[in-house]
């Protein structure tokens, strides 16, 4: 899965590496034009995360690519900061669990962004960790 993510994200500047004890870390950064929907993280066969800034608002699309059911959650106040004055990055968090066999996969994603209103471009930085979760006996 790490190699597949590294290959799939190479053209996007996505980095993927294995973590000690299993799992992997992913990261990617992009400058995105207003109105463009862009892949920001991608693990083939697991998930893709797209972002689309439109004027003052941010649309985030999660695509579940695993055959097993996937549950997504967002942080409590995900998008309140987006589109404001660029004094500090707006940060939103996501998590997911894939009911895979033999062990579920759990992911945590952090997405930071800063809107440059003069150019209409938004800086994005995405970082994720994915690990297997041992099933309880």
């Amino acid at each position: 899965m790490v190699d597949a993510a590294a290959r799939a994200g190479a053209a996007h500047g996505q980095l993927a590496s294995a973590l000690p004890g299993g799992g992997m870390a992913l990261s990617c950064h992009k400058l995105v034009d207003d109105g463009a929907r862009v892949q920001i993280l991608h693990v083939p066969g697991l998930f893709r995360l797209d972002v689309r800034p439109v004027e003052d608002t941010l649309q985030v699309t999660t695509r579940s690519l695993h055959a097993a059911p996937t549950r997504w959650n967002t942080s409590d106040a995900p998008f309140a900061d987006y589109g404001g004055e660029a004094r500090e990055p707006s940060v939103v968090g996501f998590s997911f669990v894939v009911d895979a066999e033999p062990h579920p996969l759990a992911g945590r994603i952090s997405l930071a962004s800063t809107l440059d209103r003069d150019s209409g471009l938004t800086h994005f930085v995405a970082h994720a960790i994915v690990r297997e979760v041992p099933r309880q006996a």
Binding site: A8, A11, H12, G13, K30, V32, D33, D34, G35, A36, R37, V38, Q39, H42, R48, D50, R52, V54, E55, D56, T57, Q59, R63, L65, A80, G83, E85, L115, R117, D118, S119, G120, L121
Partner: protein, 269 residues
């Protein structure tokens, strides 16, 4: 720079994007392209060949186009900006976009420095739809006016006086310029709705985040009869409507999918 656009069936957009987005680091610009169709436009200096992109959309492809595009994103937005027809009664467009359907009144709205509300966002268009269904008359205030499209539409439809307020100076400036461009009179003011009450007007439109709706609702004057509420998603809507209900306003019309817009009216009696 190249621009390659594919027009695809709306019901197949996500499947097409699953194939396109991994190949396009700068992504695609989706836009409605008529009944049941979506245009996906990609910009880049080294895009995959058009035929390759067409093949990825096979089965859903309705048409395609390829042309040169400016490198500067602001120039691209001007050149490929589009007009938005609202409820078959009004057209909103940037200055350089082609005119809309003949015979419809036009609002020409520019947003050179990122002010919200040029018509590109669905909340702006839903607010305009609700505004068009109201009987014009008396004062109107556009709260969080962005580029000023709601205030300009209200002034054009017959509300007066019209106020347009925003906490960002660039939005106030854009609104004043756009009002002049459209030949309407309004008062554009810088105002922080988190700390100050809305201007006095019986009809308000507030296309703002949920936290600002809470403050507006708490500061609402008894003379307010209608509020067009938008800028919120389904998950925030009920708490926002609850805040306005405590101020005596109830929903009478609702629009939207992921984003919502609701017309509220003061309960009689």
């Amino acid at each position: 720079m190249q621009r390659i656009s594919l027009t695809v069936r709306a019901d197949a957009v996500e499947e097409v994007l699953d194939r396109l987005l991994p190949l396009l680091p700068a992504g695609v610009h989706p836009a409605e392209a008529g009944e049941g169709a979506v245009e996906l436009a990609a910009y880049g200096a080294a895009l995959p060949p058009r035929a390759e992109l067409e093949a990825l959309a096979a089965g859903a492809l309705l048409g395609s186009d390829e042309q040169e595009a400016p490198d500067d994103p602001r120039e691209r937005r001007r050149r490929f900006g589009r007009s938005w027809e609202v409820a078959g009664r009004l057209v909103v467009r940037p200055p350089d976009a082609p005119p809309g359907r003949a015979g419809l009144p036009e609002l020409i709205v520019d947003s050179p420095a990122g002010a919200f509300g040029t018509g590109a966002h669905p909340t702006t268009r839903m607010c305009l739809e609700l505004l068009l269904d109201l009987e014009p008359g008396g004062g109107f205030a556009d709260l969080g006016c962005g580029a000023g499209v709601l205030a300009i539409a209200a002034a054009r439809l017959g509300w007066a006086p019209v106020f347009a307020v925003d906490h960002e100076p660039r939005s106030v400036e854009a609104t004043a310029r756009n009002a002049e461009r459209n030949g309407v009179e309004l008062e554009a003011l810088r105002l922080d709705l988190l700390t100050a009450p809305p201007p006095p007007a019986p009809t308000l439109a507030a296309n703002v985040p949920a936290a600002i709706h809470a403050r507006i609702a708490a500061a609402l004057a008894p003379a307010v009869v209608h509020v067009i509420v938008s800028g919120v998603t389904g998950s925030d809507l009920e708490s926002v409507l609850g805040a306005y209900a405590r101020a005596g306003l109830e929903p009478v019309d609702r629009r939207g999918g992921a984003w919502r817009a609701v017309l509220l009216e003061r309960a009689r009696g």
